[in-house]
Symmetry: C2
């Protein structure tokens, strides 16, 4: 009972997916609890009163929020199949790139998908440049973590099915084999790994979800005009 | 030579101050190199090509950027006088609050200082609420880290002399003994600690710096009208 592991998540979220991938890489069994974000459960609000967001990992009754904080916790609690290298400088580099993904790559890509006109062009350029920076970091390695999946790979999960689906919904092109061949090869390698593929949402359902979300956004904008 | 420690910083930055405090807590000697941010040195651009920002810690010739990444590196490299607890759940909580400070508290407080009208009132309310959340977390402890200064205390350095000076420059009140008595007591305790007080910039010089910065902002706005 004390060691029970639960994940409060949402199937559409790449942040929640990170937690599941890390647990599967470590071979830690867990119970997954799907949250309805338009009607959050009392348990989620109790476990993450500050942000009221998923994912939350609950281990032996103790909750931890924020996906990157959860990943560090998983690494420190279950030491097998490490997702961080041993050397402090290489650990720092992994944390640096993870932060770059969370604070630059993802928010700018997200904005580029839903903006319009000049602003969209500017954000698309920035996104492509950020992906090129990641591509240069990956270079000749199989994974950011070297020969096996590590913290940076897990943080970059959104470059798997999410980016493909979101580009289709937004009708723009940001990431693909021609533009970022090394990163594209990485995404395929990553998606086909055993621990990862079982955690990824079905592409057609993800497409329906984001199409509906885009319709919602358009309806809101039309209502404001 | 291999173990030489350098810090590239800017005296006005609470992010740079974090790195110096951590090194002093650990008793690690270092050379401090002041950067002119309007004319960044070739070395800074070489060491932090992605963000081109201070602080950068260089240890044995290897650079590390991003203050929170640097703090984790310092903790893992020099284990004496730990700034993180041993227990994984308590470590996760420290990282959670540090992230809260960096992603919520500081950016919203910063915006509240330089905005106007209704927007400023809204951001001021949010800032006060965020500080109340921090105050509840601190509760009856001397420091966020317990009896000694830890990661969260170091991350919260901006609540020492910076907040006092910035409130004066902006002419608004966000943080003080009446509103947040526990956090205010903590700030005084923190500022008077031996490792901290030598790292803090002189208050009058900080005041002159931010007054000049505000004048610059006003001149830019006037030029745009």
């Amino acid at each position: 009972m004390a060691e029970e592991v639960k994940v409060f998540g949402r199937w559409t979220s790449p942040f929640c997916c990170r937690v599941e991938i890390a647990l599967r890489l470590k071979g830690v069994p867990y119970e997954y609890i799907e949250e309805d974000l338009s009607n959050k459960s009392p348990l989620l609000l109790e476990y993450n009163p500050v942000h009221k967001k998923v994912p939350v990992l609950v281990h032996g009754g103790k909750p931890i929020a924020e996906s990157l904080v959860v990943l560090e916790y998983i690494e420190e609690t279950w030491r097998r199949n490490p997702i961080l290298p041993e050397d402090p400088h290489r650990r720092a580099m992994a944390r640096f790139w993870t932060k770059f993904i969370d604070e630059k790559c993802m928010p700018i890509m997200w904005k580029s998908l839903w903006s319009e006109g000049e602003m969209q062009l500017k954000l698309m350029e920035e996104t492509k440049e950020n992906l090129s920076i990641l591509e240069r970091e990956l270079n000749s390695k199989k994974f950011f973590g070297g020969n096996s999946i590590g913290l940076v790979d897990i943080a970059a999960s959104f470059l798997s099915c999410w980016t493909e689906v979101l580009q289709e919904v937004a009708g723009i092109s940001l990431f693909g084999e021609a533009k970022h061949p090394i990163l594209f090869k990485w995404a395929n390698e990553f998606m086909s790994s055993d621990a990862v593929k079982v955690c990824l949402p079905p592409k057609d359902e993800l497409l329906s979800h984001f199409r509906a979300m885009k319709e919602g956004m358009s309806a809101t904008k039309a209502g404001q005009n």
